[in-house]
C-alpha cells in the first residue's frame, strides 16, 4: 500500500498525491513566495491573544488599514515613493511601491473592540485579544 491504512477508507486515493505535490511546490518556490507577500508577517499566540507584527517600512500610518472580521485579519495599505528632487538619476531601485494587502486566518475569533495596533520604526504590531465566546470552557466531570 502506498498510503497509510487510515487514509484509505472513504478518501480520494489521489489526495495524498496532491498533498505531496503541494509540498514539493512549496519546497521549490520557497523564498520566492515569501518575498512576494509584502509586508513580511510574524504571528504569535497564546491562550488569550494573538500578536501580529509586520515589517512595513516607509508606509505613512495614515495609509495603513487594519481590519478584523471574526477570525480573518487583514492588513492593507499603500507605500508611496519618496521625493528625490528634480533631475535625479537612479542608480539602484530595489524598494518597491504600490498597494498591498494581506489576510490571515487567526486560530480563533477575536474581540474586534479590543484590538490595538501600533506602528513604530516601520513595524506594525497588532494585539488581538481572544473573544470570550471562543475561549474553551472546561466542564467538570462528576463522579457518582
Amino acid at each position: 500500500m502506498f498510503w497509510p491504512e487510515s487514509r484509505m477508507f472513504g478518501m480520494d486515493p489521489f489526495a495524498e498525491l496532491r498533498r505531496l505535490q503541494r509540498e514539493m511546490n512549496r519546497l521549490f518556490e520557497g523564498y520566492g513566495e515569501a518575498e512576494c507577500a509584502w509586508p513580511a508577517i510574524n504571528l504569535w499566540s497564546n491562550r488569550d491573544e494573538v500578536v501580529v507584527s509586520a515589517e512595513a517600512p516607509g508606509v505613512d500610518p495614515k495609509d495603513l488599514k487594519v481590519t478584523v472580521q471574526n477570525d480573518i485579519f487583514t492588513i492593507e495599505g499603500e507605500r508611496k515613493p519618496e521625493d528625490l528632487g528634480e533631475n535625479a538619476v537612479t542608480h539602484r531601485a530595489e524598494r518597491e511601491f504600490g498597494r498591498f494587502s494581506r489576510s490571515i486566518r487567526l486560530p480563533y475569533e477575536v474581540d474586534n473592540s479590543k484590538v490595538t495596533a501600533r506602528y513604530r520604526n516601520g513595524v506594525l504590531t497588532v494585539t488581538l485579544p481572544r473573544s470570550e465566546v471562543s475561549k474553551p470552557k472546561q466542564i467538570a466531570v462528576a463522579t457518582e
Partner: protein, 136 residues
C-alpha cells in the same frame, strides 16, 4: 551617460576586520533593500530598516566606502508561541562604494518610519563647474 558610471553605486563586500562590531552578535545579517539616486550636487540613498531604532544605526563613510549598519529590535512577545514566521529579526548591513566624490563632511541622515534617508553632498571639486565662454 550618467547612469552607467561604474564607480558609483557598486556594492562591495567589506573586509571583516573593519566592521568587527556585528561579528560578535549571534544574529543573522541581511542586506536591506536600497535605492540610490544621484543629483548634481549630492547622492540620495534610501534604505529600508524596519524595526531599527535611530539609536541603533551606524553609518560610516571611509575612503569612499559607505557602510550602513542597523540593529533590529529583536524583542518578541513573552509567554507566546510562534504561529507563523515570515521574517527573522537581525542585523542589516550594506556597503557601497561612492568614490572620492562623496564628501564625508556633508552627510545628512534621517530615519523615519523605518526608512533611512541619507543625503551625501559631493565635494567641491567633483561638482560640475560652468565655464563661461568669452566671445569677442
Amino acid at each position: 551617460m550618467k547612469e552607467n558610471k561604474q564607480e558609483t553605486a557598486v556594492e562591495t563586500k567589506k573586509p571583516a576586520e573593519t566592521s568587527a562590531v556585528e561579528l560578535t552578535r549571534d544574529q543573522p545579517v541581511f542586506a536591506p533593500a536600497t535605492d540610490i539616486a544621484e543629483r548634481e550636487d549630492s547622492f540620495v540613498i534610501l534604505c529600508d530598516l524596519p524595526g531599527v531604532d535611530e539609536k541603533h544605526v551606524d553609518i560610516t563613510l571611509e575612503e569612499g566606502v559607505l557602510t550602513i549598519l542597523g540593529y533590529q529590535d529583536t524583542a518578541t512577545p513573552a509567554d507566546h508561541e510562534w504561529l507563523y514566521r515570515g521574517y527573522t529579526p537581525g542585523v542589516f548591513r550594506r556597503a557601497f562604494t561612492l568614490g572620492s566624490e562623496a564628501d564625508p563632511n556633508k552627510i545628512r541622515a534621517k530615519l523615519a518610519h523605518g526608512v533611512l534617508r541619507l543625503e551625501i553632498g559631493k565635494s567641491e571639486k567633483a561638482q560640475p563647474r560652468k565655464i563661461p565662454v568669452q566671445t569677442e
